[in-house]
Structure formats: C-alpha cells, structure tokens
Amino acid sequence: MEDFLVYFYQNKEAIFIITLSIFLGVEVISNVPSVLHTPLMSGANAISGVIIIGGIILLGHSSLEGISLNLILGVFAVILGTLNVVGGFVVTDRMLEMFKKKKKN
C-alpha cells in the first residue's frame, strides 16, 4: 500500500495530466458527427505518433561508437514514428480536402 502512495506522490503531476486528458478526449470526441469519424480516427492516429519525440530523444543520446543493436532499433523507431505522423497527417488532409471542395458548389 505504501509503495502505491509513494508512487502516486512522486508522479502526481503526470497522474493529474493523465486523468484530465481522459476527460478532455471524451469531451472533444463526444460531439463529433459521424461524417467525420474516419478522418478523425486517422488524425488521432497521427497524433498518437507523438512517440516520435521519444524516438528522437533515444536516438539523439545513443552512442555512435560502432553499430549497436540499440542504434539500429533507434533508427527504426524514428522511421516508424515518422511514418505514423507524416503518413497520418497527409492522408487525413487528403480526406478533409474532399470535404472542403464541396463547399464551393
């Protein structure tokens, strides 16, 4: 029990953010018309590529002396994360562009 309390106290800021973010996500999504569900899923998917920051941090501070497994995995993490972010945003834009076009007609 005490372990849990210590853990909570040490990480209280993060736990606050997590808790409030949950409500934020629910609030923002609840009012979305189903017309936009696919682009929204795709856009949210792109945001979940925020792991790219972790990839950059990791690869940024890994040792370059010789080619280590960590280095290779780090490069993969950054490439995969970028794919998620860039691909996700581009394809979402492509979908939304089609919605936008209709307005002029």
């Binding site: 629910v26 945001i47 590529g49 925020v50 941090i57 995995l73």
Partner: protein, 473 residues
Amino acid sequence: MNTSLQDLGVSTGDVFLEISYLVAAVLFVIGLKLMSHPESARKGNFWAAGGMGLAMITTLLLHRGDDGSLISLNNGIIIVVAIIFGSILGTIIARRIKMTAMPQLVSFFNATGGAASALVALMEYSNPNNTSALVTLLGLVIGAIAFSGSMIAYGKLDGKIGDIFAGWVKYFNMVLMVITIALIYFMLAYDLDASTQSALAYALLAIALIYGIMFVMPIGGADMPVVISLLNSLTGIAAAMAGFIYHNQAMILGGIFVGSAGSILTILMTKAMNRSLLNVIIGSFGGGGAAADKEHGNIKEITLSDASVLLSYSQTVVIVPGYGLAVAQAQYACNDLVKLLEDKGVDVKFAIHPVAGRMPGHMNVLLAEADVPYTKLVEMDTINPSLPNTDVTIVIGANDVVNPAALDDPSSPIYGMPIINAHESKNIIVMKRGMGKGYAGIENFLFFNDKTRMLFGNAKDSIQALVNEIKQL
C-alpha cells in the same frame, strides 16, 4: 529574492523546450477540436500537425540527455535522415492509397506507431537511469499488441488473412494474458541481473506480439472498425507510457488524449451495432439461426425502364449506400444519377448508417471523393422519421444495415442493432450483385418485402444504365 534559472539548474533552452511542448499539447487539443466540424476540419489537422512538427524540432535542438549534453551533430544527422526517409515513404503511401483502402491504411500507420512505442520501451528498459520499470514494461506490452494486432487487422481488411473461429483461441489468449501479468510481476518484484532482465524483456515482447495476433485473428470482418479504433487508442496509451518515462508532458497528454478519444469512438461504434465491446472481442458473428426457416416470400425483379420511370416521377428519393457501392467504384456514377434526378426536381438524399463501409464515417469519405456534397449525407436518426413519406429508397450494396430482422426478430444475431428503416418507404429498389448474404451472413427479409424490387448486377453498371435510361425519358 528572485530565483534565477541557474539556481534551478536549467538553461534557457530547457525552458523553451518545455514551453514548446505546452504549445504542442495545446495545438493537439485545438486541432482535434477543430476536426469535429467539416468546415474547420482541415485547419484542425494542420494545427495538430504543426504542433507535432514544433515538438519534433525543439526536441532535436534543445533536448538534453541524462548527462546534460544536447543531441550531438552526428546523432542529429542520423535522426534527420531517418525522419526524411520516413516522411517521404509516408507521404508516398498516403498519396497513392485508394479511398476504399482507407481502413487498411489507418491500421498500417497505427501499427508503425505501436512498433515505435514498443521499440522505445524495449531500449529504455535497459537504461539504468529509467526509474519507472512498470510503466516501461506496460508500454512495451501495449505497443507490441497494438503493432501485431494492427498488422493482422491490416491483412484482414486487405483480404490477405482469413478469420479463424476456433474455440480454443479464447482460452489461449487468457493463458497468454496470465503469463504476461505474471512475467511483469516477476520482473518488477525480483532483483535480476542485466542479462536476465534483457532476455525477459524480449520474451515479454514476443508474448505480447503473439497476443496481438491471436486477439485480432478471431474477430470477424464486420467488427473490424471497432478493433481498429481500439488498437488506435492502445497506440496512444503506449505513447503516453513512453512520455511517462521521459517526464514529457506533451507525449503524455497527446497519448492519453488520443487513447481516450479512441476509446470513446470505440464505444460509440459498438453502440451503433448494439453490441458490447466484450461481445465483439469474445463472440463472433455466426450465420443463420432459427430465423432461416421462416417463410421467405418471393423476390421480384425490376427492369431498368421501370426503375427509371419510377425514379423520375418521384418527389423524394433516399439512397442507402453500403460498402458494395464502394467496391464497385460506383460513387461517381451514383453522383451522376443524383444530379440527373435533381434536374428533374426530385429531392435526393443519402442515408448514412453509422457503420456503413468498413469503418465509421468511411462511406462519407467515399462519397465526398465523388463530389457528393456532405449536406446531402443524412445520418440514420435524422432520416428515419422521414422514410415513410419517401417515394423510393434505393439500397446500393448495403445489406445488414437495412435488415428489418434487427427490429423484429429476437433470434437474429443482429437483433437490436439500429437500422435505416428502408422497409417503411413507399417503394424500395435494391441493387445487388446476387442473392448473397451480407457481411454478417444473415438472410435479409427486406428483399422479400412486397414493396421491394431487385435490380441485379454490378452496381456501377446498373447505375450507369439507369442514368442512360433516365436521360432518354
């Protein structure tokens, strides 16, 4: 007494980095908020992407490692090259993909995000400065499940992988789950030497990957949208776990925000199908049942000329599109039909079921691609009350979403699912390739309704023929 940055042991750059993360987090939220309206959606996507770009650049320039040093030039070059490579590849894939293949693509991109999370967690686990072993291991497991699960979902949607419905899968998955939890507990509770730790981390990764595969494998194609949405939220949570490791608030907020949004979307979808999430994960759609023995009545066909006269002299027409329409690439022909009928003074609308297509809102995207104005797309709950006064309802390539069995046959597997009440309108024309059953494999009594007439054939050909016929009237 004023405190200086030096007293806090931070540089101006450190502060700017945190400010940029705050800005990025705000942009994520504003972006997703703007995306909830068609007019502002594109701007919203742009803002969210801007936030991500900002956070990536400031991290690259300003982040300091455990030893206090910035990212070195050589490391920076490797990162930039990797990012450029990923960007080019991502852009090419995103530009080339067909709109009908959108669900596969979202699955695929989700898989890459999950894989990146799992890799980051795997490497951070062996970092001695990392104090949150539990969160790291959870990130590893969740990221790996999101990766392998999304790849299977991708394969299934793309028709490369079939379903397996074996009963043992359920128990196998439970066993895997227990092993995973036991392994995590073991790794946290005991002081292990570095090599054992690393070996166990790989074992955990392998088990999580298998779990992801076996978790998605038995889930039927009709339930795939729910699964994609669920896996999407898992990727978000995995990213947030990594944010926890780095004390990075932008990652935590972005990840959890997406995780919670994805969960809500998942629940909305299961509601639209009138099923619980547990039911989707454990149960699978079976065919037939007792309903199959019921008296069918007769199928009546309609000729093209009869259909064209019927449509031309109607006042209101509602089109119910299904995935079959998209498969036949009939969206464009369909739009021609709509324009033609409107020129004749017919009021035409599309009725969109929440789960039409292969993911929620997919049908809207497919129709938008063919220049159908989104104001013509009406949601199920809005259109249903007006259907009894509708002259003709045309069902194109849709099946389960107009099956009245969902309303009046408690023995039907889709009983309770809200449907578009096509059977209430004055006339119904069903365009279908043949008498095959829908995705759920259930007989549809709408086809045997007295008011229903069938127009068999490829949807695109049928609609084009119909357009030509109407032009000649």
